[in-house]
């Protein structure tokens, strides 16, 4: 089946009809993975809600088609940092189509339950949700807990947490969710079938969640951004080459209007901590630490300054928040950034951090899953010329 050339102007119902077709022909499931990339033309100009609904509809399809390995990173990202109950529920369903489950799955599911608990909502994936369905029988929390039940004894690490959810002093779960928890506890407590003890025989093997890549091939070396003009949080102008060439660099991407506290706000907070570690390890001045906004037309210098300072950044010559003074697209192409844009601002983005060597070549990229300061610093140190 050829994937139709969807664009931002394609009606969502038309795309949903295509997804429905793939649901009926699981052999074509790989075609859906392309619809998960944030920068896909299908999301151009759409609102965040519409982009999330389409992504959720795609993800939920993997429960029936089977989850292609290439989609696993998208599912794990959603479980780790997704805020929209519809998309998180869809990721929980997608896992139930997996042959290989990520090794951190149980902790990702518990983390998602904790995050969605105060924001639970009714969800339905039987048809594309252009209108509310009549009393859908499921919610995001119920889908997350059903996935723990689906894992059975392999979710043993969740047992204590689930039991504590049902303790009398605990509040915060509806009767329907409590029933799901009880069912999941039974499923998880079940003695493991002998065949299932072998991860390969069970058909549900464990795989590490990949989020760091050592690379030179993923980014587009053809896109020359050396002369791209940037402006920092104080209004100073500098070209990409002037700032980033001559020493290794850590660049992360963000925008100040991001509503997900586990994405941009946390990213810049972590960047400030990373800056502290750079200083502690006597690398100050030897490594550039920078955040570049996806939303340069809105993130003017004073907004960048306030956003960084509020999150602990101490600006200096080698530590800056930056915006492109012209279009952002050259940087997006250069690093193949996972970001999509609505009519006003970003509609969706992944977490992404790039380590550059002293001539501006990308040596490592951390995407989708939360990065840790120490692993980034190690990557930057590896990019430092001896």
């Amino acid at each position: 089946m050829n994937v139709p050339a969807f664009g931002g102007g394609t009606p969502a119902d038309e795309i949903a009809a295509y997804i429905d077709t793939v649901r009926r022909t699981p052999a074509q499931r790989d075609a859906l993975v392309g619809l998960l990339a944030e920068q896909s033309p299908v999301y151009a100009g759409r609102s965040t809600n519409e982009a999330e609904r389409l992504r959720g509809y795609v993800l939920a399809s993997f429960e029936t088609t089977g989850l292609p390995p290439a989609a696993l990173a998208y599912v794990c990202e959603e479980l780790e940092s997704g805020q929209n109950p519809y998309t998180v529920a869809a990721a929980a369903k997608a896992i139930r189509g997996a042959d290989i489950v990520p090794d951190r799955l149980v902790s990702l599911l518990l983390r998602a339950i904790d995050r969605i608990r105060p924001a639970d909502d009714a969800v339905s994936f039987d048809s594309y949700p252009s209108a509310p369905s009549h009393r859908p029988p499921t919610t995001a929390l119920m889908e997350l807990i059903r996935t723990l039940a689906w894992l059975g004894p392999r979710a043993g690490a969740s047992l204590d947490t689930m039991e504590s959810m049902l303790e009398s002093h605990t509040i915060g779960f509806s009767a329907a969710v409590q029933a799901e928890i009880k069912h999941a506890i039974n499923a998880v407590s079940r003695p493991e079938a002998p065949a299932a003890r072998s991860c390969c025989a069970s058909g549900r093997r464990a795989a590490p969640v990949e989020h760091a890549t050592t690379l030179s091939s993923v980014t587009s070396a053809e896109e020359n951004v050396e002369n791209l003009e940037l402006q920092d949080q104080n209004g100073a102008l500098v070209t990409f080459g002037e700032f980033f060439y001559g020493r290794p660099s850590i660049i992360t991407f963000f925008y100040t209007r991001c509503m997900n506290p586990d994405k941009c706000s946390l990213t810049i907070t972590k960047l400030a901590r990373l800056q502290g570690k750079v200083s502690e390890q006597d690398l100050k001045g030897q490594i550039n630490v920078a955040g570049v906004t996806y939303d340069p037309a809105f993130d003017l210098p004073q907004r960048l300054h306030a956003y960084g300072a509020d999150r602990g950044m101490i600006f200096d010559d080698r530590t800056r928040l930056l915006r492109t003074t012209g279009p952002f697209e050259p940087l997006q192409r250069r690093f193949d950034l996972g970001v999509g844009f609505g009519s006003v601002t970003v509609n969706r983005h992944r977490l992404e951090l790039v380590v550059l060597d002293d001539v501006g070549r990308a040596t490592s990229m951390f995407t989708r899953m939360l990065w840790h300061e120490d692993e980034v610093l190690d990557a930057a140190r590896a990019a430092t010329p001896l």
Binding site: R46, N49, P132, I171, A297, V344
Partner: protein, 299 residues
Amino acid sequence: MNVTDYRKLYEAQIARRADLAGDTAIPEVRARETLSVSSGDPEARIRAIESLPLTATESGSNISLLLATLHNPEEPAAVRAAALHALKAASFLGPRFAPYRAEYLQTLRDIATDVEPQLREDVLEVLAIEKDAYAQDLLMRGLKEPQSALVPPAKAIQLLGYDVHADFAPVVRDVLRRESDAATKEEALRLLAADPASEGLFADLLKDKLQPTPIRALSATGLQSLNPQSFEKAAREIIADESEDDDLRATCLGALTHIRDYQKTRDDPDFVQQVKKLESTPSINLRSSAERFIQMQSK
């Protein structure tokens, strides 16, 4: 609802609550009984709703009762409004309300197209604050097809403004072009101040002397937010132009006085001289703006 009506409603609610705090409060059991039968004196039912305790851990069934009352189209509008009001208050209970949140939102979606206009508007407002996709679709459809609008266009634009990630800009720009209602145009400009692509629109409106002053003042705010340098240039021209509206000149001068970005203008001796002359202008607003500028500048 306008400010006067809202104030009256709020005062009535305070008065009623004061009554309930006295010896007229209804015991919980009786309040539940009153609400459980689907007919009865609306006033008594409203009092029952206002008497229902919602903060105790075991108040879950009271929340369910309120959800059923809100959902029921047979209930008088005032009773349903009271149920919504109580549920909105309960939604601030955090973890205690969490078990009912999904059902609450679903109930609101079910009645978002209700025949009762005020209830519809209140419900859409709650959903819009939640950045609800369905509510945004309804509001957007109403702006594109006015015959299907559930709330007036100014209200729809205001509600869409709760979510900068809603795809509102092209539709709201269309509304701005075609609407003549001042309130709608003003709401549209407030919302577009978040849209960098509207910078040119604000610049044009600010310069256009044929536009009403409130429209130009909002355009000044929008332009200042999206392009402070462009605003600075336009503001200086407006302040210097004696044929300009004095209130607009005062607004522009106020921005140049207080916003950090404009220190260079505040330090410009030519501009300071220009403003000093305005200290004797007949316009009270412009004169006091000029005085404030000179005070700040001399500090």
